[in-house]
Symmetry: C2
């Protein structure tokens, strides 16, 4: 087995788990947030900066790397770790979600998905076997099975048909995966917002021996209380001895609610994407540093933050840089937002260790406000 999950303890106040995922490139303390490095780089950040903020693992995107620069080139380079100079763990998604959300003229068959590249219109094809070939070439520590992620809302019949295909695809992935000793393959539970379908998907996938399980098809436009309901009934269906990964989730409230429900891993482009238009997560809630009211504000982005950005730079300076289209401004907001979420997860882990995660959540929400979709996250 490429990875090993070590359960340290469960929070007495909630279903939250404190654990460690041991991988070929080091240990991930869980619950963990994974910064997203779509194109073999976490936008604007260096590997050293990611280490300075103590990111244990990053995610990179199979679909994007398949299109550009191509997985064969990365294989030649000695794998993704070497290519991008990152020696800690990497998780690659399967390309499934991106094929459905980014590509054009896609056609799904039992065999796989035919689509046109969103970059240049090239006709391409990804099947479970191709997704494994790509990810084996990339050499990520954790690979994801090729799945279909239906949009929200979707009809019951379609979701059922789709999850059953995802199960068959998962089985093919397991067979096609050529490096099980170096790379762990996670399956993705689908089933939309239907409890019985989530149960069906989880049962089918856990009957096969994957080293970890993800919950997909959430954070796709549904209200957050629906997402939490789905977690409430889906997480208990997953094996306790293996890591559980909630895909595409990264708002502070959802990281807390997911951890409380027993999720171990999260990823999201939210902190890096909002940073690029000058929006930051702070202990006082959402702060849009571009706004005119910060022009003469010489305080840090977040007075309670100890990150590189908040230690050294003012809101006025960061606003100036962003208004002047200076890259360094985006570096500073990106660094801060990623640090904010990684610090939140450190706090979550400590709260689990001390059996007070619900108290921590309540205090967080009271003090910081909800970082919900309505406020822009």
């Amino acid at each position: 087995m490429a990875i090993k999950y070590e359960l340290i303890k469960t929070c007495k106040q909630s279903g939250a788990r404190l654990g460690r995922v041991h991988t070929p490139h080091g240990v991930i303390e869980t619950p963990a947030f994974m910064p997203v490095g779509t194109q073999a780089t976490v936008k604007t950040m260096s590997p050293e900066e990611l280490k300075m903020m103590d990111a244990h693992i990053i995610l990179s995107n199979t679909y994007h790397l398949f299109l550009r620069p191509g997985h064969e080139l990365i294989r030649q380079a000695g794998g993704l770790h070497k290519f991008m100079n990152w020696d800690r763990p990497i998780l690659t998604d399967s390309g499934g979600f991106q094929v459905f959300s980014l590509s054009e003229m896609r056609k799904i068959t039992e065999e796989g998905v035919q689509f046109r590249s969103h970059l240049n219109g090239d006709k391409l094809f990804i099947s479970p076997e191709v997704a494994m070939e790509i990810q084996n070439a990339l050499g990520s520590d954790i690979m994801m099975a090729f799945d279909e992620c239906p949009p929200h809302p979707a009809e019951y019949d379609y979701v059922k048909q789709s999850l059953e295909r995802t199960t068959r695809w998962a089985e093919r992935c397991l067979k096609a995966h050529s490096r099980p000793d170096d790379q762990a393959l996670f399956a993705i539970v689908q089933g939309g917002m239907y409890e019985d379908l989530r149960r069906q998907s989880a049962m089918e996938l856990t009957s096969m021996d994957f080293p970890g399980y993800a919950i997909g098809g959430l954070s796709v436009g549904e209200p957050k209380d629906i997402m939490y309901q789905v977690l409430d009934y889906t997480v208990p269906l997953l094996p306790a001895a293996k890591p559980r990964y909630l895909m595409g989730v990264g708002s502070p409230d959802a990281l807390l609610e997911g951890s409380i429900r027993g999720i171990d891993m999260f990823d999201c482009v939210l902190p890096t994407r909002i940073a690029r238009n000058g929006t930051t997560m702070t202990s006082q809630g959402r702060l849009v540093v571009r706004n005119a009211k910060y022009a003469n504000d010489f305080g840090p982005l977040d007075p309670e933050c100890s990150c590189y950005t908040c230690t050294n730079y003012s809101r006025a300076y960061i606003r100036h840089l962003i208004k002047a289209d200076e890259t360094f401004g985006i570096r500073l907001t990106t660094y801060h937002n990623l640090h904010f979420l990684l610090q939140l997860m450190r706090d979550v882990r400590r709260a689990i260790a001390e059996d007070r995660l619900l108290d921590f959540r309540d205090a967080f929400f009271t003090k910081y406000g909800l970082f919900d979709n309505e406020k822009g996250f």
Copy 2:
């Protein structure tokens, strides 16, 4: 006096000088190249990275900071050093060159220059007094007198009239400068490509007691041999006890030829600007890493370079990042180019110390080729 120039020795092979400029924010080893941080940031770089490559001083632009965010805001922030988190020396130009090259609808009178902002069309005015007020607010270690920089080619009569006004403006700058104990004011010798006018400008300006002298109006489109001729007759007119600064020059060959002729300081946007389209300076000459031939090249940008970029990343990776519009690619080429020029100046200083700068230049040109305008620098 805010600064002190210490002449360590003169090269026995050339007019080159090894020296130190002591400033309120530390020492500049000369001859020195100054990275340009136009808008209170060296594009894409952090202060820590500039220190890692051992930049002793950076330049920032009065015109740009006057327009945005405004010098009063930077004064409120505690000055430019504090605003941008850079505690080493800063030189600010006077805004003269930018007013003439960037602004619109400018009108020059004896009093100063009226112009419209290239950002928003605002009607603005800079005079020698305003240029001093701005730079005093910025708090740079070295300020530049407000000058007019005529284009090349320019008529003799115009250049003469212009340099005489520049002399009168320099005198007004000296009077208006309110912080001579904290900030050194350099005068700028003009005179175009006319030897007698350069002589006139140098004589007039050196008759006033400026702590340093710049040579302006070069690298404005004239052939390089003309520039070197102007240096040949202008540098000897400048006082040996004070630093000499050649403005706007930064190609490797011109740094060498300028040093040989006794120049102590240089600045140029060249290394940072070309980095942004994937052009790099290497020991093998100009290398455009965007080019398709580097797609599968897993070697460093420059096999003889020891910089952060060349130690950790391949041409293939950097090319991928730049093709994919990833900021980190530009960070890597920018870092390398700045390091290349700073390393060149370290080599120049050592060659002066060992009385072999002409030998060093010849070896450099033989091995590296000329980095001349024809090749894109």
